[in-house]
């Protein structure tokens, strides 16, 4: 149950934006270079982040992208949730109707519990906490 590169690369990108918060729009080419992912791929990842209101963009020369909310108001879990399209180990956790046995499924309860544990962990750290944590090293 690996995270897709969407989440992993997207998280790198968002952390990069967080590092440069309050420096105005950052061009995607710059970010791509720093996080070592192609511009074209990052462009795709920005779309859902904009829709979910985590990123805003400015067009034209001197344009670019930036976080819409302060880094201490967003957790890693929120970002992963957007990029991964939901955080859960099995479809039935979110939508019990996909299986007619969901109601008394032995396994479903476990997937639900493990999903929650993971989710809580991912939501326990904000972007700014991660960056601060990094500076101390």
């Amino acid at each position: 149950m690996k995270l897709s590169t969407r989440s992993r690369y997207g998280t790198r990108m968002v952390l990069d934006m967080a590092k440069h918060y309050n420096e105005g729009p950052i061009q995607i080419g710059e970010i791509a270079q720093r996080v070592n992912v192609s511009v074209k791929y990052l462009e795709q990842l920005i779309i859902p982040l904009k829709k979910a209101d985590y990123v805003k963009s400015v067009r034209g020369p001197k344009g670019g992208h930036m976080l819409k909310k302060a880094p201490n108001e967003t957790t890693i879990g929120e970002i992963v949730n957007v990029l991964e399209g939901g955080i859960n180990l099995s479809e039935c956790v979110e939508n019990p109707d996909v299986c007619d046995k969901s109601k008394d499924c032995l396994a479903r309860g476990i997937w639900e519990g493990a999903t929650k544990a993971m989710y809580d962990k991912l939501n326990s750290m904000t972007l700014s906490e991660m960056i601060e944590c990094d500076k101390r090293v």
Copy 2:
């Protein structure tokens, strides 16, 4: 980061075996019917479970498969681990060398923490506890 059907179907199968522990070998056709997965697919899933010493099999008429260890000696996490080929959200958690930035990667720490939370949860319940839990309902 969904579990594959391997883990989900395989878990159903193992739980079925656990329910019939001490009833001698259970034929895979029976199990397939009860858990609603094709015989052929389950046959594939049994292979790694045998290699990892969780299942033993008997050939010939009246043959079948059964758990090698008692249901209270095996956790769901162990089964998922075998079927999924390791439990971790990112390759770098298990094998830091896949990325030359692992050592001071902001994201890696988070993947590691969330992986552990999930892992602990999955290992917190044995097969027999799950079945007991079911009976009470």
